[in-house]
Symmetry: C2
Subunit: 121 residues, 2 copies
């Protein structure tokens, strides 16, 4: 059953109209960052309390039964996924949600179920 792919590609290749491999790699990295309960809660907390100036790490850490290095590690993951950003203000570090990051994810999900692929913007 090895290359019956040729056959399938001949008539109607399902792969063409869906996500490209590159786009999938990029978006999967973002979804993977959300694929952990701690990170999902962190993002939610940051987004919810994002009054104006961002949320201090010192408010996030005590909400979990995890060590401080672990929380710091998860924040780094979210940062590297492009979902949040941070800035040091004096002793404290403040985090906020990257504008547009969430929208990009929902766009992919919407495109996944609806239109061909709104990957462009």
């Amino acid at each position: 059953m090895s290359n019956q792919g040729a056959e399938a590609a001949a008539c109607c290749d399902v792969a063409q109209s869906a996500l490209t491999e590159d786009a999938a790699v990029e978006m999967a990295a973002a979804f993977k960052a959300l694929g952990d309960p701690v990170r999902l809660r962190l993002l939610s907390m940051i987004a919810t309390a994002q009054a104006e100036q961002g949320v201090c790490v010192c408010e996030l850490t005590p909400a979990f039964a995890l060590s401080q290095p672990t929380i710091s590690h998860h924040l780094k993951q979210l940062r590297q996924a492009g979902l949040i950003a941070c800035e040091r203000r004096g002793t404290w570090v403040y985090y906020w949600v990257m504008p547009g990051a969430i929208e990009r994810l929902t766009a992919v999900l919407a495109g996944t179920v609806g239109e061909p692929a709104p990957v462009s913007v």
Copy 2:
């Protein structure tokens, strides 16, 4: 710096208005399923080609440079995450996207950045 959480909770606990831990665990499992390029493409292909009757596995497998067991394994992950469902028709197995599954994810993302939590529906 151990329980300065008490202090934070006293005035304005960030954790209250965000996702609950249980909700986070549940949703993170779904996002985790999307956190792999292969699975994201599979879902996209299934959703895109979801003309009427679902997509045959034999159309999905040849689109990847992976073994058949590996694709089958990823399909199982998506199934267990409640994102897709399948049915056997004679020799072939057809997959389709679970209605409402994508919408539930986008709702969480929207809630994460916007309103308190539209998790209800």
